[in-house]
């Protein structure tokens, strides 16, 4: 500052003061609440948005609103007041959010258009952070809620009901692409292609959602590291749940049930590394958990019940650890296509185990080999499945247990639990 004329300093100071007071004045301008209703001065949400400033609220009165795609380009809170229906008339996307800090609540979206050129959604958020999409009902949409390049959004308590009939002309209930740090909680998704779909998503939490009766997967993600999935229910989806090409997946307390079919899995891990699978329920699936090139899985305290195959471990899956899981009522406990595996099984409860516990430490004294001879036979020759539970097959299995010749030495549980793990 040495040598700067004093008047220049004074001018700079005055300008700074003027700017600051202008900003303060703008900040002090009270946020307004505008009401959209079919008989009021503001008849469309777009009209309200045109007058709105950042920070304003827009209340939408009950009624049916048909207007061209609403572009939310101001930081506003849009909320339905009763049953405010935004109808896309099977022609268009209903709402596009392009700025940060927008919230969309209690609205009822329906009838999104089908397009071969773009993915039309009920609500699409593009390049916008910290949005809140809560308590909405979305019916008959191609894509329900679609986030692209956004961060820190909350998608909570929405009911998303699609009427998808084929995979080509349908989209996903909640679709995230290249987004991070989102929260997806307490949503109910049904009748879409995939219930929840992630691609290039990181640091996101998926909690307490129900995704059922979708055309393909209940949950489907790729390249989405460091996400957590807690207490969700994935039920009766045509192909179950399939997740791929991802590191550090955490799944706790989820339920995977009633996924039947030759290409249907309770949970399919394809190239998933360093995952933690804890306290989940795999019930009534053709295959409970399928691990294909999924390394270093840690699976503890899960329940595998009444599945065709509780667990299919492909030979390219290494260094996993299955501890303290319950295997009950499954037709086959474990099947594998390799001669041995480096995956460790310990202290699991297997209801097919017929060993004894002389030292009374709660764990069987003879190891349990969960791969049965008959599962190998069926693996090589599927139609032989009709012989399941026949006396001859029981005799074969008993003979194989007594003198193992064909079944692999591993997987083996050296300390099988004698009682179900609570």
């Amino acid at each position: 500052m040495q040598g700067t004329p004093r008047w220049r300093l004074a001018l700079a100071g005055a300008l700074a003061l003027a700017a600051a007071s202008a900003i303060a004045a703008a900040a002090q301008m009270p946020p307004r609440t505008m009401v959209v209703s079919s008989n009021g001065p503001l008849r469309t949400i777009s009209a309200a948005l045109a007058q709105a400033r950042d920070g304003d609220s827009i209340r939408v009165a009950p009624g049916v609103y048909r207007e061209s795609t609403i572009v939310v380009d101001k930081r506003v809170d849009i909320a339905g007041d009763g049953d405010a229906i935004l109808d896309g008339e099977h022609r268009r996307q209903i709402m596009t959010v392009t700025v940060n800090d927008v919230s969309i609540r209690h609205l009822h979206f329906r009838n999104v258009g089908v397009s071969d050129l773009g993915d039309l959604a009920a609500v699409k958020v593009v390049n916008a952070d910290r949005c809140t999409i809560a308590d909405n009902t979305i019916e008959n949409a191609v894509f329900g809620i679609y986030l692209a390049r956004s961060a820190g959004c909350r998608i909570v308590r929405n009911a998303i009901r699609g009427q998808a009939r084929d995979e080509v002309r349908s989209g996903n209930g909640i679709h995230l692409w290249q987004s991070r740090d989102a929260l997806i909680a307490n949503n109910h998704i049904t009748g879409h292609r995939d219930g929840i779909y992630f691609e290039f998503v990181t640091g996101t939490a998926v909690l307490d959602n129900v995704s059922e009766d979708n055309l393909r997967y209940g949950l489907h993600f790729m390249y989405s590291d460091d996400c957590r999935y807690v207490a969700n229910v994935f039920r009766h989806n045509v192909a179950g749940v399939a997740v791929m090409y991802t590191h550090r997946v955490v799944m706790i307390g989820n339920t995977f049930e009633q996924n039947w079919g030759s290409a249907s899995y309770g949970l399919l891990f394809k190239e998933i590394d360093d995952s933690r699978v804890e306290s989940n329920h795999f019930v009534n699936n053709t295959v409970g958990l399928m691990a294909d090139d999924a390394n270093r899985i840690v699976a503890v305290h899960n329940e595998f019940r009444d599945n065709g195959w509780a667990l299919k471990l492909m030979a390219n899956t290494d260094d996993g650890r299955f501890e303290a899981n319950n295997f009950m009522g499954n037709t086959f406990d474990v099947s594998t296509n390799g001669a041995q595996t480096s995956t460790i099984f310990t202290a699991n409860y297997w209801d097919h185990y017929r060993g004894y516990d002389l030292d009374r430490d709660g764990f069987g004294d003879v190891p349990y080999h969960p791969v049965r001879l008959f599962s190998l036979i069926v693996g090589r020759n599927p139609p032989a499945m009709v012989l399941m539970r026949s006396v001859f097959v029981a005799a074969l299995d008993a003979a194989e247990r007594a003198i193992p010749a064909l079944t692999p030495e591993t997987p083996v549980d050296e300390r099988p639990a004698m009682r179900p793990i609570p």
């Binding site: 039947w260 699936n285 065709g308 139609p383 009709v386 012989l387 539970r389 001859f392």
Partner: protein
């Protein structure tokens, strides 16, 4: 009261008085009670019972049935001297054995379950198990009668009966597995299902598989299996074939009985 129902009544009371039936019922009572008490939940007890039922009912029925007819030989000859029609007499003998055996089985398995609360799915499985057990009782009694009527030598007849059981319970499935392995490169779905329909024990097993292992059965890609196991058609076909397995030996036995020179 017709002659047939009179004979049924007499035969039933005769069979009920024999220690055989008491032991048979007691066996199922003990097995069921034991499995329920020590096996844990009813679902698992039902799975284990399935194996017992599929093994024990055909064996006991076919052995007991042949012995019963041999020991009733003099009684039959006596009655044939009376004005009693042969079909009526055969029906009387047949029902006089099948009804007590079925009753003993249903009571033995049913009573321990009746004493416990049962959910809908397990209840359905129990009904299927009881139905399969009763159907197998009828089918194997018919087979036993055919064997005993065709073969006058008791020892030989008994041998044939046990051999027939061994073939249907064990050897048949072994051969099916060998065939399946030999012709693994061919489309085997239809032949496999046909082979299952051709054996009453396998049929009974398939009916119960549809209740226990549907998750695994649906894992197979074949369209024929999917059609058979995934829709009601599998159950319908299996039930119809089981009825056939009851009707054909019974009719064959009746025919042999009508023409036999005692």
């Amino acid at each position: 009261m017709s002659a047939a129902s009179r004979i049924v009544k007499y035969e039933v009371s005769d069979v009920i008085r024999s220690r055989w039936l008491l032991g048979y019922t007691g066996f199922f009572l003990l097995a069921t009670e034991g499995l329920l008490r020590f096996g844990g939940d009813p679902a698992r007890a039902l799975v284990d019972l399935t194996n017992v039922v599929l093994l024990v009912i055909p064996l006991v029925t076919i052995v007991f049935g042949t012995m019963y007819l041999y020991s009733a030989r003099e009684f039959i000859e006596l009655l044939l001297a009376q004005p009693v029609g042969r079909p009526q007499l055969f029906a009387g003998l047949y029902l006089g054995l099948t009804l007590p055996l079925s009753g003993g089985f249903v009571a033995g398995v049913g009573i321990p379950f009746a004493a416990r609360p049962l959910n809908g799915a397990n209840g359905g499985t129990l009904l299927a198990l009881l139905a399969v057990g009763v159907a197998l009782t009828f089918a194997f009694t018919g087979l036993a009668f055919v064997i005993a009527l065709r073969c006058d030598d008791r020892v030989k007849g008994l041998g044939i009966a046990i051999a027939a059981w061994a073939v249907m319970a064990i050897v048949y499935d072994a051969l099916v597995l060998v065939l399946a392995t030999m012709f693994a490169n061919y489309p085997l779905e239809r032949p496999m299902l046909a082979l299952m329909v051709a054996n009453p024990i396998d049929l009974g097993r398939i009916v119960l598989l549809l209740r226990f292992d549907i998750s695994a059965l649906m894992g197979y890609t074949g369209a024929v299996f999917k059609q058979f196991f995934g829709t009601g058609s599998g159950m319908a076909v299996a039930a119809a074939a089981l009825l056939g397995w009851i009707a054909v030996p019974a009719l064959l036995g009746a025919r042999t009985f009508r023409r036999k020179d005692f």
